[in-house]
Assembly symmetry: C2
Homo-oligomer: 442 residues x 2
């Protein structure tokens, strides 16, 4: 992509309505624009980040054996009346009446709809365990939307639903999702800490929030520093491995202020390992047994011919919240550096030459090579001055830059990883380095 | 993917509510389920088709130089009051009131919202021409939804908007989209014929519908058979080439019954070239000048410092309608064969062995090889009998099958393209053939 063809309205100043740094950066770098209170449009730069996040989330759900489908945004109120939640849900639910005076609603979550799909299509115990998920826009009519996409009304969520024959099998599904969440967030280079949580309007008796640490986070958290050292990257989805990692996580103290117990914290955690900071919720998982399958009469035939209401759980990741959460964790106020899995472009080429000099051709050449190597470059081919090009790219956050001025020799380029020193490299060295970084073989 | 892990509820019989063959096939093969009147869930098989279609549409928009963004589904009524369409749009618009009694609506189209984004972010003539598009769910409260996803209420649409400084530049944008639509539909192996159309509620004075020919189509069409011979695959987006192809299309007669003129048809088209059949609308493009930019006060500074309202157009493709349209065009009642660009899996492996015999290992082997070669296979590893496996795959519509029974020699496999005869081939021959078909290098 060439910047001159890319719709990227960058703002020079922090907009006054943005109170936190992710909201500021997303507006300034032209990632999002508000179109109504708590409702945002994702401009091209923001959409690239959002799509990359969505794909990482999707890949790991697929790795865990979940099946992707897509439920609609608009639901019939009838199924919510069946489950008993239509009256409970309150004013956060966006209620709609259609031209035939039927009650509809914009789905704030999908337990009812997925239970309906299960009820109509699954008949036998042989189909269980079953994990189904979708990635879809949802709406919650927040009374006071704020902080940009962090607390907005229309938001993109990945929600998975598990169906199992009995409680012990349901626990396995729960733990599998537990691991998949840790692996997902690790791919964003985030430390996500699972913490026991209230079940709220979803119901049930087991729940964890996944919280990433960021000083600007919405809630206070207390945890054992040992939790920061655990890695899940190489752990496979076998029952034994899953049990082990869940036990490991559960053995260390971690709690939000809501559930914090000072006495236990001090008893269980050595002083040097006590960490008290703030965090942002980016995932939430629930086990709620037959709450929905029973009320909505969803059942399968068991081996002995009896009807069994499946045990269910639900598992959410706030996809459209993640760009903001990553910024809160990674933006140091001077420059933003996106994780490699998320970056909107893999590499930026900054042409600092004057219009018409040899830097133009040099930029164009390496741009074409990178493009053909699937290294998805963005070339700043505008006539802005060098200092504002650098400033813009500090906001845009591409982790690697190739800087092309008029002073270097023919096959010399400045290569820079954000936050590191510049290096002089040849074209070939740069391409090989980037291929290695992004694990591109060809 | 192994069929035993894939959520695919196949129906044995045609559901009585389905009146047309695409609706029947999509229900029977487990692609979609209705969740409320005119509102559908896309099950895993259907979602794969839908995503592939979406990606083909996206690629060609990018090729044409359009920038992808994503506008929300819910819009403020305020901008529709500015343009004057809020009262005009009638009962098809789903109107919503939020908890603060503000008027919202579920977007049926996005001229107002994109004009708002343009107005707030584009200031200079230097940014034009500009093409912006998104692929997003929309809602039109059809009085009588029917024919499955062909005429439903919540639907996925690709809509592009063009902004130009003057009429002649706007015509170039219009023609560029004209070509991009022909190229897009050609990738689905569909013959789409552009036909002059009414502008309806979008407004403006130039409009074409893109109609594919299918005997079960909703409207009657009359055209010159020469139109079926024109190819656009190798035509680039240069002004000269674009003008030439648009002129070529415009030189032949084509009209829906609404605009049909018998006298002109008979005068202009030789008898042997007259074609009278039916068609399905899958795209619609509009040029409407400054209708929205003027009423919503969107303008740019021109070279001489004056303010100019840009000339606009909008360009829609019914993404969620396309699976049904492709089925209407391709399903012969016996078997469905998806175009290669759309097929939910690239190849099907039918294990016809009895549980535990050598066919299991043979199937597993080739499955792993295909998977590692990015040939995205689905392996039928269920214990259904061979005849129902064949029947199911006639519905599922994967264009290529590898059939593994117990009778063949060690490195012999039956390979079948749907509608063609079976051939005995080696593993290597099959892999190479498929790589060639799908243009996979490695």
């Amino acid at each position: 992509m060439k910047l001159s063809n890319f719709f990227l309205p960058i703002l020079k100043e922090n907009p006054s309505e943005a109170k936190i740094k992710s909201h500021q950066l997303m507006l300034r770098s032209g990632m999002i624009r508000q179109s109504a209170s708590g409702i945002y449009s994702w401009l091209p730069l923001g959409l690239r980040v959002l799509k990359n996040i969505e794909n990482v989330v999707r890949d790991e759900q697929n790795n865990a054996g979940a099946n992707e489908l897509l439920m609609p945004t608009i639901q019939s109120a009838d199924i919510w009346k069946e489950s008993g939640r239509y009256d409970d849900y309150g004013k956060e639910m966006l209620r709609i009446t259609d031209r035939h005076d039927r009650d509809l609603l914009y789905g704030p979550t999908n337990e009812e709809l997925i239970t309906q799909i299960f009820r109509d299509n699954v008949k036998s115990y042989k189909s269980l365990p079953l994990l189904l998920y979708h990635i879809q826009w949802k709406f919650r009519d927040e009374i006071r939307p704020r902080f940009g996409v962090m607390r907005c009304r229309e938001f993109l969520m990945k929600d998975t639903y598990s169906f199992d024959l009995d409680k012990s099998s349901a626990e396995n599904s729960y733990k599998k999702m537990f691991l998949s969440y840790l692996k997902t967030f690790e791919k964003f280079d985030l430390k996500a800490i699972p913490m026991k949580a209230e079940t709220g309007p979803i119901g049930g008796d087991l729940s964890h929030e996944f919280i990433i640490l960021a000083e600007t986070g919405e809630s206070e958290v207390f945890l054992d520093k040992n939790l920061l050292e655990i890695e899940t990257k190489y752990i496979n989805y076998t029952k034994e491995k899953i049990d082990k990692i869940v036990n490991k996580y559960s053995s260390f103290y971690a709690a939000t202020d809501e559930k914090h117990d000072v006495i236990e914290f001090e008893k269980k955690v050595e002083k040097k390992n006590r960490l008290n900071t703030r965090g942002i919720e980016i995932g939430h998982i629930f086990y709620f047994g037959d709450k929905y399958s029973k009320s909505m009469k969803a059942f399968v035939n068991s081996k002995d011919g009896s009807n069994i209401n499946p045990q269910m759980g639900s598992y959410g990741i706030g996809v459209s919240r993640l760009p903001a959460a990553i910024i809160e964790a990674k933006y140091n106020g001077e420059y933003m550096k996106w994780p490699n899995s998320v970056t909107p472009f893999k590499v930026a080429i900054l042409n600092l030459g004057k219009n018409g000099d040899e830097a133009d051709q040099k930029s164009e050449d390496i741009y074409q090579i990178l493009k053909n190597s699937n290294l998805d470059p963005i070339l700043d081919d505008t006539s802005e001055n060098p200092s504002s090009k650098f400033k813009n790219f500090d906001l845009i956050g591409i982790p690697y830059q190739i800087i092309i001025g008029s002073k270097l020799k023919k096959d010399e380029y400045e290569f820079k990883e954000l936050g590191e020193d510049k290096k002089i490299m040849s074209k070939e060295e740069i391409i090989n380095k980037l291929k290695k970084i992004y694990a591109i073989d060809k």
